[in-house]
Symmetry: C2
C-alpha cells in the first residue's frame, strides 16, 4: 500500500527523510535558481510570443506539481527554449501575437500537452519516446537553436521580422534592416558579447582565482542577471525608452491568475498534433536531463511516472496563466550544482518566483528586450552542434541521412515538419534496411563447431549443402525476399540437395513469413531438395509448434548448425 503510494506520489518517499540539513541545502539552491529564472522566464515568454509574466507564471505552479508527482530529485520544470519556439510556431498559425486568442491558445496547448503526457503515463507509453532516434533529436535541437537565435535578432536590432522558417525570418529581417535602432543595437550586441565572454572566459578565470568548479559554474550562470541589472539601470537612468529602445514595460503585480483553457473542438483539433509533438519533444528533453543527473547520484528515474509528473505540471500551467513547460537543461543543472537534494528545492523556487511576481515586476519595466534576446541567443547557440553530421556520416549513412533531413526540414519548414519528418524517416529507413536483409552463405570454421560467412572467412563447405544465415527477423516486410533468394540459388542444374536456414539471427517469424516458408518448402519439395532449420530460438520455435509448418517441413530442425553439418554432409568428421 505504502509502496504504491510512494510510486505514484514520490513525495512520500523523499519526504520521510527530510531534515534540517536537506532543508538548508534545498533553500540555498532555490535562492540561486530563483535569481537565474527571473530573466530566463521573461525571455522565453518573449520567444513564445507571450507577455513576459506568462514565463514567470509558467514556472510557479508547474514546479510544485512536478515536485509532487515527478521522480527526479534535481529536475527544474518550466519554460524552455525549444518548447517555447514550438509554442510560437503552433499558435502563430491560429492567432495574432498579443491578442487574447493567442494567450488562450497557449493555455489550451499546455492543457492538451499535459493531457497527452498524463494519458501516456497512465497507459505506460513512455517507450513511444524511443521512436525519436538520438541523431534525429540532436539534429532537431541544433536546427531549433539556429531558428531561435535568428528569431531573436529582431530584438537585438530593434526591428521586426516573422515567420517559422529560417528563410522567412532572415528575409523579413533584411527588409526592415533600415529601421535598425542604434542604441538598441549597442545594448544587444554588448549584452551578447558580455554573455559569450562570461560563458567562455569567466569560468576558467574564476577557477584560476581558486573557486571550486560548482561555485564557478553557478556564478557563470549568474551572468544574465548581471547583464539584466546593468542594462535595466542604464535604460532607466538615460530614459532610453524615449529613444526607441523596446523595454519590457508594465508587468502586472500578481500571483499566477486562475485561467481556463478553451475546450472548443475546432481549436483542439488544430492544436492536437502540435501538442503531441511538444509533449514528445518535451518529454525526451526532460527525461534525458533527469537521467543524466540521476546517474551521477545513482538514483533511478521511472519514465512512466515522469510522464505523469510532466503532465500534471502542464495542466497546472494551463490553469495558472502559463504555457507548455518541461524539465529544462540549464535550470536543472544549476539546481543540481547549487546543491538541491530533493524536489522541495523546486517548491522553494516557486515561492521565490511568486514573491518576485508580486513584488519585483515594477523593477523590470526598463529591462530592454534586447538584453533578454541576448540571453536567449547565447543560451541556444550552445545547443547548436553540427558534429552529429560528421559522426553519423562516418558511422552509418542512414543515420546521417535522417539527421541531415531533420536539420534541413526544420530550418526550411519549421519545427513541426522537421521533427515529424525525422521520426518518419528514422522508421522508414529502418524498415527499408530490414526489407533487404543481409544473408550470408556460411561454412564451418576448420577445427571448431563455428560457422561463418564463406566470403569473409576461410571455411569448409559442401557442394550438396547450402547453408544460409539470414541476418534479420523474418516478417512481412521481407517475407518475399527470402522466397526469391532461395528460388534463385536452387535454379536448375545446381548440385544442391539440402538447404539449411540457420536461424540464429531470426528473432521473429510472423504469419506472412510463415506463409513464405511454406511456399519455399513446397517449391523445394517439388525439386526434391530438403529444407532444414537450425539454431531456431526458443520463442520462435514455440510459435512454429503452434502452426502446421513443422508437420509439412520436408527436412529436420537441428539444435545446432554443427548437428546439421554432421547429419547432411556424408564426409563430415567429428571435431
Amino acid at each position: 500500500m505504502y509502496d504504491r503510494l510512494t510510486k505514484y506520489l514520490p513525495i512520500f518517499d523523499w519526504g520521510r527523510d527530510y531534515n534540517r540539513e536537506t532543508l538548508s541545502n534545498d533553500l540555498i539552491a532555490a535562492v540561486i535558481v530563483t535569481i537565474m529564472l527571473i530573466p530566463q522566464s521573461l525571455a522565453y515568454a518573449l520567444l513564445a510570443g507571450l507577455p513576459p509574466e506568462a514565463g514567470i507564471y509558467a514556472s510557479i505552479v508547474p514546479i510544485i506539481l512536478y515536485a509532487m508527482f515527478g521522480t527526479s530529485r534535481a529536475l527544474a520544470v518550466g519554460p524552455v527554449a525549444v518548447v517555447s519556439l514550438m509554442t510560437a510556431a503552433a499558435i502563430g498559425q491560429i492567432a495574432e501575437t498579443g491578442t487574447m486568442g493567442y494567450a488562450i491558445a497557449a493555455l489550451t496547448l499546455a492543457f492538451l500537452s499535459g493531457a497527452i503526457l498524463l494519458i501516456m503515463g497512465v497507459f505506460r507509453l513512455g517507450f513511444l519516446a524511443n521512436f525519436l532516434s538520438h541523431p534525429v533529436i540532436a539534429g532537431f535541437i541544433t536546427a531549433s537553436g539556429i531558428l531561435i537565435a535568428a528569431s531573436q535578432l529582431k530584438h537585438i536590432l530593434g526591428i521586426s521580422s516573422h515567420g517559422h522558417s529560417l528563410v522567412d525570418v532572415v528575409w523579413t529581417l533584411l527588409q526592415n534592416l533600415g529601421d535598425t535602432n542604434v542604441i538598441t543595437l549597442v545594448i544587444g550586441v554588448s549584452a551578447t558579447a558580455f554573455l559569450f565572454w562570461v560563458r567562455k572566459g569567466l569560468k576558467p578565470r574564476l577557477r584560476a582565482l581558486g573557486l571550486g568548479p560548482k561555485l564557478a559554474e553557478v556564478l557563470t550562470k549568474a551572468g544574465p542577471v548581471a547583464a539584466v541589472l546593468v542594462t535595466t539601470l542604464a535604460a532607466w537612468a538615460f530614459g532610453l525608452d524615449a529613444w526607441g529602445v523596446d523595454v519590457v514595460g508594465q508587468v502586472p503585480q500578481s500571483l499566477p491568475p486562475l485561467t481556463v483553457p478553451s475546450f472548443e473542438p475546432d481549436l483542439i483539433a488544430q492544436l492536437f498534433v502540435p501538442a503531441l509533438l511538444i509533449s514528445i519533444i518535451g518529454f525526451v528533453e526532460s527525461i534525458s536531463v533527469a537521467q543524466t543527473l540521476a546517474a551521477k547520484k545513482r538514483q533511478r528515474i521511472d519514465p512512466d511516472q515522469e510522464l505523469i509528473g510532466l503532465g500534471a505540471a502542464n495542466i497546472g500551467a494551463a490553469f495558472t496563466g502559463g504555457y507548455p513547460v518541461t524539465g529544462g537543461f540549464a535550470r536543472s543543472v544549476v539546481n543540481y550544482d547549487a546543491g538541491a537534494e530533493t524536489p522541495a528545492a523546486g517548491a522553494y523556487t516557486a515561492v521565490g518566483l511568486a514573491i518576485a511576481a508580486v513584488a519585483l515586476t515594477p523593477l523590470v519595466f526598463y529591462l530592454p528586450k534586447a538584453t533578454l534576446a541576448a540571453t536567449i541567443v547565447v543560451a541556444v547557440l550552445s545547443l547548436v552542434d553540427f558534429s552529429i553530421l560528421k559522426k553519423t556520416w562516418n558511422y552509418s549513412r542512414a543515420d546521417f541521412f535522417a539527421v541531415a533531413a531533420t536539420i534541413l526540414l526544420t530550418l526550411t519548414f519549421g519545427v513541426e515538419t522537421g521533427v515529424s519528418a525525422g521520426v518518419i524517416l528514422s522508421i522508414g529507413l529502418h524498415l527499408y534496411k530490414t526489407s533487404r536483409p543481409h544473408v550470408a552463405e556460411v561454412g564451418l570454421v576448420p577445427g571448431t563447431q563455428h560457422f561463418r560467412n564463406v566470403l569473409r572467412h576461410k571455411v569448409e563447405t559442401d557442394d550438396t549443402l547450402l547453408t544460409l544465415r539470414v541476418d534479420e527477423s523474418l516478417y512481412f516486410v521481407n517475407a518475399r525476399f527470402l522466397e526469391d533468394l532461395i528460388q534463385d540459388r536452387t535454379a536448375k542444374g545446381s548440385p544442391i540437395r539440402n538447404v539449411v536456414l540457420m536461424c540464429s539471427a531470426v528473432n521473429e517469424i510472423d504469419f506472412s513469413a510463415l506463409e513464405s516458408l511454406e511456399a519455399i518448402n513446397l517449391r523445394l519439395t517439388e525439386l526434391e531438395i530438403g529444407l532444414h532449420l537450425s539454431e531456431v530460438k526458443g520463442p520462435v520455435m514455440d510459435r512454429l509448434r503452434n502452426s502446421h509448418f513443422l508437420q509439412h517441413l520436408n527436412g529436420r530442425v537441428f539444435q545446432a548448425q554443427y548437428d546439421a553439418w554432421q547429419a547432411l554432409v556424408p564426409a563430415a568428421k567429428a571435431v
Copy 2:
C-alpha cells in the same frame, strides 16, 4: 541494348517467338475471356457508381498497354471488385453519382494512380507493397467482399441504399425495405441462387460427365453469361422495365472516347491519398495473381516492371473514359485456363471488347441490374474468408490483432480507413515488439561449443560471467532497453566480473545504439566489470570499426562465444 529494350518493353521478348500455334491458343483464350468480361465489366462499373460503358472502356486500352509493358503472360487487366469499391468510396465524397463531375473524378483518380504506379516503377519502389502484411491483405479483402455484397443488395431488392460503412449501407437499406420491387427480387434471388449452384454444383457434375478440369472451369465461369442472357430475354419479352425492374438501358455504341482527366489542384489534393491506396492495393492484388500464374509455368515476374505496366494501363484508362484498373484474379485465371500463352491474348480480348462496345451494346438494354448485382455478390463472396482470424490467433496474437482491426475498421469506416489502419498497425506492432526484445542469458551446452538459454536448456554457467544474447538488432527503438537491463543485472553485490554480449542475433547497431553501448561500457568500467562482444557479424563489425567504440571498449571482441568462454572462465576445459 536489346536486353535493355526487352527489359522495359517485354513485348520484344515474347514477340520474337510468336508463331501460328501461339496465335491460335491466344485467339481461343481471347474469345472466352471477352464473353466473360462483358457482363463483368458492366457490373463493376455499376459498383463503382459509373455508367456501364465505363467498365467496357476500362478493359480495352488498358489491356493493350499492359500487354506492351507488363511482364506477366497471363494477367488480364481491367476493372476489379475491390478497386471498383475503393473508387466509389473515393469519389462518392466529392461528387454525386451520375454527374459529369463524378466521371471526371474517376478519370483523374485513374490518372493519379497510374502516375503513382509509374513513379514507383521508375524509382524501383515495388518493395513498398511489402509493407502490407499477408494477414492485413487477407482481412482487407474479406471485409471488402462483405461491403461489396452489402452494397449490391439494393439492386437485388430494387431499392436504394448508400454509405461507405456496413452500418450505413444496411441501415439505409432497411429504411427503404418497404419499396422492394417483387419482380426485381425474384430475378435477383434466382440469378444469385443459379450462380451459386454453377459455382458449387456444376463443376463437379461436368467433371463427372468426363470433361477435363480446365474446360469444366471455363464453362463454370460462363455461368454469369447464361444468367445475363436468360434474364435479359425475360425482361425484353415481358417488358419488365415497365414493371419497375431497373435495367441497364441505353449504352452508347462507340469505341472508347478520348477523355481528359482534370488537373485542378484541389481535386488532385483530395484524390491523392485514395489514389495512393488504390495503387498499392491494386498492385498487391495484381502481383500476387501474376506470381501465382507465373510460378505454374516457371516464368519470372519483375515487380518493378509490373508497376510500369499497371501505371501505363491506368493512364490509358484515364484518357479513354475508364477508371482505375488492375490485374484481376478471376479474369486472369480464366485467361490462363483458356490457354493464353502471351500478352497478345489480352490484345485480342481488347479487340473483342471494342467490337462489343460498337455493335453489341443495344443488346444489353434490357439486362436487369439485379442480374449484374447477383454476379458481383457471388464473385465477391468467394473472397470472404474468415479462417485467417483463426490461423493468426493460433500463431501470433500481434498478427491476429492487425487482421481483426483491419476487418473491423474496414467494415465500420470504409476501405480507406481500413487499409491505412492495417498498414500502420502492422508496422506499429512490429516496432513495439522490437522495442522490448527477447534477451536470453546463455550457457554452454555440455560436450559442445554451443550456447543456449539457461532457462530452457541444461547448460554450464559461471558466476563471474554474464553472457547475454540479445535477440534483436540494436537500434533507436530499443537502445535504452539494453542500458537499463545491464544496469539491473550488474547491481551492487553481484559476483559478475565480465559481461559478454553475444551478438549472433544483432543484425544492426545504429548510431543511437552505439551511444548506448558507449554508456554501458563507461558504467561497467566504473564498476570494474569487463564488457566483451562475441559473434559480431561482418557488416556490424565493419561499422563498429568506423567508430571509436572499439578503442574505448574495456574488454575484447571474440569471434566465437566459445572463445569468450575459454578466455573468461578460468575453469573452462577444451571440449
